[in-house]
């Protein structure tokens, strides 16, 4: 018996948003009487940080602090339509809808401020701290709060905006498969080092080194969480998970977490991540969704590392100890 080290590599690209488009999302933005802003959506925050990233996008676009913006979502009576939280579409589609809604609200806000300051709205800029000032004349300022009060109680104006973002649906040519799948792609590459026990067939992942190109990390902590968690899921898919262990036979089916296996805390591998940013031209501040692609390179990288370690090609996921031992036997060892 012996422990064998091996390393494997994989790289991928990943389409952002629903394939062939046709998946709109809407957003509404309005200010409270004292100049705080509500973003209203129907998009679902699955824990990935939908509410957080749309809140930052709204604050950046409005030119106000993030603490003055709150995101309300997931109520069909108040939130306008969103196709749903899937296909790595949240940041791209909903983020763009929020930019448009927040831009319209900002336009109203600057016009109201211009009326108060008796200047041209085009000469105004936000300071990102709750103030609006005349460009080149920093002493001439007004707070967003005062603008909101004036707009509502004096001018009779709402500081609100609507936004929708849609990549129009595209067709597929039945003969050639010609299509416009999506408008941008994220990228990733990964090297995985494993240790394989030729007596038990167990695989231990020693280290993961990865690079992910995400357009722009709108919130680096949320990106990090996706990449770390996604790699764990990829590891789990590669080595542990299936609802049908002897697929296509429907036998020995797991029905709970005692029989449906996943890696525990002791199985989590060290993971060194690099993030690259190549902004996509139609993405909000360039950001592509990292939520799905982060798991993908792990599966083949682990399979390639196992082959490098013990010469067994596991082309059939998951790579269980049983398959490795059968492969070793087939190879004559």
């Amino acid at each position: 018996m012996a422990l064998h080290r091996g390393r494997g590599f994989a790289c991928v690209n990943y389409p952002i948003g629903m394939n062939l488009g046709g998946d709109p999302s809407q957003a509404l933005v309005h200010s409270t009487p004292d100049g705080k802003f509500m973003v209203t959506l129907s998009s679902i925050d699955l824990g990935q940080g939908m509410k957080s990233v749309t809140r930052q996008i709204a604050a950046e676009t409005l030119g106000v602090p993030v603490s003055d913006v709150y995101v309300d979502t997931a109520d069909s009576d108040t939130g306008p339509h969103c196709m749903g939280s899937f296909a790595s579409r949240g940041t791209h589609r909903v983020g763009n809808a929020v930019i448009r809604a927040a831009t319209e609200a900002r336009t109203q806000m600057l016009q109201a401020a211009a009326e108060e300051l008796e200047v041209d709205a085009a000469d105004l800029e936000t300071d990102g701290e709750g103030g609006i000032r005349v460009r080149g004349a920093p002493q001439r300022t007004i707070s967003v709060a005062d603008v909101a009060v004036a707009a509502q109680f004096k001018q009779g104006r709402t500081l609100s905006g609507r936004g929708i973002f849609l990549v129009p649906p595209s067709e597929v040519d039945p003969e050639t498969g010609e299509m416009s799948p999506v408008t941008c792609f994220a990228h990733a590459a990964m090297a995985v080092e494993v240790e394989v026990d030729d007596e038990t067939g167990m695989v231990r992942v020693i280290e993961i080194n990865s690079a992910y190109e995400v357009g722009r990390a709108l919130n680096p902590k949320l990106v990090e969480q996706q990449l770390v968690g996604g790699a764990w899921m990829g590891l789990s898919h590669a080595l542990y998970e299936t609802t049908e262990p002897y697929y296509p036979d429907r036998d020995h089916l797991p029905v709970d977490f005692n029989t449906y296996l996943m890696p525990g805390p002791g199985d989590v591998a060290p993971h060194n991540i690099a993030v690259l940013e190549r902004p996509a031209e139609d993405a909000p501040f360039g950001g592509k969704g990292p939520g799905e692609m982060c798991a993908n390179p792990v599966l083949p990288a682990v399979a390639n590392a196992v082959f490098d370690a013990v010469g067994v090609r596991c082309d059939d996921l998951p790579i269980t100890p049983e398959k490795i031992l059968r492969g070793l036997r087939a190879n004559g060892s």
Binding site: N19, T176, G177, P181, H237, Y247, P279, F285, L299
Partner: protein, 595 residues
């Protein structure tokens, strides 16, 4: 330990700085609720008199329902309603009908023939979950077992059992013409003939559970205004609302859906089954009804990420360039379509992976088998084929005695390359990701590879659409008549050659903002306000990319497919008959697992 770094030296001139909120690690607005266990989930909504719904399910892979006797169950303590197929106003649906794709093929409660183990045929609504479970056990069903098929390749044989009557060929039907989705780019046979070596592989991924901590569920509550509120774990609020309105043939105006904190989705909370079931229960009883899967249902009845089988053939030249690649792919959809038909098209648009290959062909099938229907999961349509492609790349690297990273960088796609789906690559970054990983993992790569860039070396000859061989293999129904090979160009028959440069459409860009005031006013001091080096603005400071202007002609709009709006039929009083009680002798007690 985990480390996290930015490599900002790449693409530095394409990014704008000076942002106030973007790029900051701002803490989530709802984090305190999450870490203190106070965030409300759908199941935290409490109602007086809440009823519980459980399903009677098939113990067989494939069977005809001979008779159902629920007379004993209906009399049991706490049972308030037996819900049968006749209670579902429009008991046939396909999820993607909301975007006009596919035929109605799946009932909410199955009336006559089940096609997978666990398929629901009846539901019991009772005052407690325990009473509902006991009543489910007391329903007596007589089944007539039918031959079943579980293997995707066997399902395509001429005399395979028909899984789903809507698709008698056991495949989804594409464009009313083919039993698979085609991709044809160049001439793969010629490419293989010219190659120095051929590398082949076959790859499979078994079904995978989304495994959310919170199982799928919904609570429907009649309100005093003739509306129903539905608290749900859905990932797609309006998708579930519209599906509910359609199946129950009710006005969407009568539905108020409330989502919120979701205990993990990963794609498993799109299928919109728990919502119509709970709303139906509430409509029939006038009381709040909860329909929630237990863990066993979540794992074996709730749709998993489906299995996939991919066969890949590569032709590689003496320099290590892949000159031809063909795929035969099978998505195991289980008994019904759900979303697998879409995944097939998405996967096809993804081929041949992030590489520039001059000749590519694929046939991808959405196959029906007698297993739990498959659905979306993180990476849907992509994860399985990425596994196949990247294992195949490892084989290719070894076959050519190349370092696997050098082999990929040599074949990587770059800006300006024509992709197999006939659109130009842009905004690519594969090569840089490979270089950074080689560096981090101390994996030595060739000096050639270290100097490559996604920005250089693309386009030119690689920007052309090649002359392409097309065929008419695999028309709908062919495989019922004879055993037709599944790989591209393998079935014989007439072939045609499309001339070089053939394009039927053009790239699609986002619809422009509907109003000028959604375009905004980038301040003059903003670096994003002036394009550098003629490059498209990377940062839509206020609004869309600079190239999209409201007064510009709108981008090409493809012909709108038939896209039914959210169903909004007027509400009407129920005239449904109660489920007919049958009295014939039962041979099997129903239960979801075979005992």
């Amino acid at each position: 330990m985990t480390s996290f770094e930015f490599r900002r030296e790449f693409f530095a001139d394409e990014r704008q700085g000076q942002l106030n909120e973007i790029g900051k690690p701002t803490i989530r607005q709802d984090i305190l609720g999450h870490v203190t266990g106070r965030s409300p989930y759908y199941d935290d909504h409490l109602f007086d008199g809440l009823l519980h719904m459980r399903c009677v399910r098939s113990p067989h892979h494939h069977a005809r329902i001979v008779s159902v006797d629920f007379s004993e169950a209906a009399r049991m303590e706490g049972v308030r309603r037996v819900v049968g197929p006749d209670d579902v106003p429009k008991n046939l649906n396909t999820l993607l009908s909301l975007i006009g794709f596919g035929k109605e093929d799946e009932p909410l409660l199955t009336p006559s023939k089940v096609a997978y183990r666990g398929e629901p045929i009846l539901a019991i609504v009772a005052e407690s979950e325990r009473q509902a479970r006991a009543a489910v056990q007391a329903v007596r069903v007589e089944w007539e077992e039918l031959p079943h098929v579980l293997d995707v390749e066997e399902a395509l044989k001429p005399n395979a059992p028909v899984v789903n009557a809507t698709y008698p060929g056991n495949t989804f039907e594409y464009y009313d013409k083919y039993d698979h989705q085609k991709l044809r780019f160049g001439d793969v046979e010629q490419g293989f003939a010219k190659a120095d070596q051929i590398v082949e592989g076959s790859y499979r991924m078994s079904p995978i559970e989304q495994a959310p901590m919170e199982t799928c569920g919904a609570i429907a509550v009649p309100e005093t205004n003739d509306r129903i509120a539905c608290y749900t774990s859905t990932q797609a609020l309006f998708f579930s609302l519209a599906t509910t309105a359609k199946l129950l043939d009710m006005s969407s105006a009568r539905l108020h859906f409330v989502g919120g904190t979701v205990g993990g989705g990963f794609g498993g909370k799109v299928d919109s089954i728990v919502e119509p079931m709970s709303v139906l229960g509430a409509l029939l009883t006038g009381a709040p009804v909860k329909f929630m899967w237990d863990r066993e249902e979540e794992m074996q009845v709730g749709a998993p990420r489906g299995a996939e089988l991919w066969k890949i053939k590569d032709g590689i030249d003496s320099r290590g360039r892949i000159v031809a690649r063909s795929f035969t792919g099978y998505f195991d959809s289980g008994a019904y379509t759900r979303l697998s038909s879409y995944a097939v098209v998405k996967a096809t648009g993804h081929l041949p992976g992030p590489y520039s290959i001059p000749n590519v062909a694929s046939n991808v099938f959405c196959v029906f088998t007698n297993r739990t229907p498959a659905t979306a999961m993180r990476g849907f349509g992509i994860t399985g084929v990425d596994f196949a492609i990247e294992c195949q790349m490892d084989r290719g690297a070894r076959a050519t005695n190349m370092n696997p990273i050098d082999f990929r960088i040599l074949n990587a796609y770059r800006d300006g390359d024509m992709k197999a789906h006939r659109r130009l690559a842009k905004n690519t970054a594969l090569i840089e990701c490979c270089q950074v990983v080689a560096d981090k993992a101390r994996w030595i790569i060739g000096s050639q590879s270290r100097t490559q860039s996604s920005l250089r070396g693309g386009g030119g000859e690689k920007a052309h659409v090649p002359a392409t061989v097309i065929d008419e293999e695999g028309r709908i129904g062919d495989r019922r008549r004879s055993d037709v090979p599944t790989a591209p160009h393998s079935a014989g028959g007439r072939k045609r050659r499309l001339p070089e440069g053939s394009l039927r459409g053009e790239d699609v860009v986002a619809a422009p903002p509907q109003n000028p005031d959604m375009l905004g006013d980038a301040p003059a001091s903003d670096p994003a306000a002036s394009p550098e080096n003629g490059r498209t603005l990377a940062r839509p400071r206020f609004g869309p990319p600079a190239e999209v202007q409201v007064d510009r002609p709108r981008p090409r709009r493809p012909q709108a497919r038939e896209r039914p709006a959210i169903p909004a039929a007027p509400a009407r009083p129920s005239t449904r008959r109660p489920l007919r009680r049958r009295t014939s002798v039962s041979r099997h007690v129903s239960g979801f697992r075979r005992r």
